[in-house]
Amino acid sequence: MTGGESEGPDERKSREGRGGEPDDLLRALEAALFASTEPLTIAQLRQILGEAPDLPDALRRLAGDYAGRGINLVERGGRWHFQTAPDMAWLLRRDREEPRRLSRAGMETLAIIAYHEPVSRAEIEAIRGVQVAKGTIDVLMEAGWIRPAGRREVPGRPLIYATTPEFLTHFGLGSRRDLPGIEDLRAAGLLDPIDLVLEGLSGQSVTESSLENGEGGD
């Protein structure tokens, strides 16, 4: 019934007669392993191919056939499967780099970690006066700029975060001491509360505690 252009009894006969070409067992092995959705044990292969005493030998020969190719036949824990050659792995996953800018929340969180490390999320929130979304920390971790640095030995044992060497590299800092101090920031006008009315007071999700702190200040 398989009425394609190239098969049929003639093809089958000629194939069996062929010399240097893979024999039927090898071809069947090849096809079965290729089509299988999972690695196959020798027992499973026997179920598919029928009795074949020289199966282990055939598998080794087949693995040899593929040794130098872009596809290899490998055994893992008694199961055989084809996989792309390890040195071709780079083909399979191509990373396309996309420059992304850190959000304002991300920037502030990173700055707080850099200035106060190690800090817990609750501490970051207390300093920012605004809640820190889970995703914000994740992004900073993904960027490779912060890392978990143990746990604070207080009730709840919260994770604490610190910056990484990559952080220093990215921002061109020799060490965290190279970060400008508060007085430098003041001198640079970076502490001017110009934006205060615009941002702090526009009041997005200012936490209760920070409001209390604010009022306690006067």
Binding site: A35, D95, L173, L179
Partner: protein, 267 residues
């Protein structure tokens, strides 16, 4: 030409039951399909088939179906009518015929049957090919090729310290230097009036107990506080108060022994 043998061939095994005929009738996909089946029953190459014989077979079949009271779909009847017309046209003298000629119509019917037969065969050959997922298989567990988007996060040192500056600016323990409102408190006034009046034996106007140069809001506050302070001090018996009349200036002096309190104020 009217070859009943073909009909017999076709239906012999299923006769005589009318119901069986019904079933087989429903298995045709329209009149053209029925025609094609009848044509093939002629057992000659489709190109050699006799249209006239085919017409006879079709009409006989329809007649037979009607005799067994089968519900015939309208298009079978339409085809029957058209074939009846074609037959009579083919049998008519060639002389005055309209266009297209019955021969041409017959030829077209011929072509249609061939075309349908060809497509039917083609469909069968297609379906019998080595089909993916039935006869041949793609890889069962491909690793997959994918392009991952990797975010390269960008930020400058300036962004970083500016962000910190903003956090600080926003959350600095704001030493709200509450601009002091210009007031003299009662305590201050009591202290001040008490202190000053002790040094004076003579009647002195209330206004002269106010601090130097106070005016405006602070002046009014100082006056009000000093007035209340005066009343308080008088209640304590520490000073005397005198006023000549309503809205007249108020004079104070330290309490004289024996006079005792505010009621000593001169009338």
């Amino acid at each position: 030409m009217a070859d009943a043998g073909a009909m017999d061939d076709l239906f012999e095994p299923e006769r005589p039951a009318g119901e069986v005929l019904t079933v087989s009738f429903e298995s045709w996909e329209g009149p053209l399909d029925l025609l094609l089946t009848l044509a093939r029953a002629q057992k000659v190459d489709l190109r050699e088939i006799s249209i006239l014989a085919l017409v006879e077979q079709y009409l006989a079949f329809i007649a037979g179906a009607r005799a067994t009271k089968l519900e015939l779909a309208a298009d079978y009847l339409v085809m029957a009518a058209w074939l009846a017309y074609l037959k009579s046209a083919l049998l008519l003298p060639k002389a005055q015929q309209e266009e297209p000629s019955p021969e041409e119509l017959a030829l077209r019917l011929h072509l249609r049957l061939q075309r349908l037969a060809a497509m039917r065969d083609a469909g069968a050959r297609l379906i019998a090919r080595d089909r993916l997922g039935r006869d041949v298989f793609v890889r069962g567990a491909p690793e997959g090729l994918r392009v991952d988007k990797v975010a390269i996060w960008q930020a400058s040192l300036y962004d970083l310290i500016a962000a910190y500056g903003q956090v600080k600016a926003r959350t600095r323990p704001v030493t709200h230097v509450v601009a002091r409102r210009p007031v003299m408190t009662l305590d201050e006034a009591i202290e001040r009036v008490g202190r000053l009046v002790g040094a004076r034996l003579d009647w002195t106007r209330l206004e002269s107990f106010l601090p130097e140069g106070v005016e405006g809001a602070l002046g009014r506050s100082a006056l009000a506080s000093s007035f209340v302070a005066m009343l308080e001090l008088a209640r304590q018996g520490r000073l005397d108060i005198r006023q000549e009349g309503l809205f007249e200036p108020i004079f104070l002096r330290s309490a004289q022994p024996g006079t005792g309190g505010a009621e000593a104020a001169p009338q």
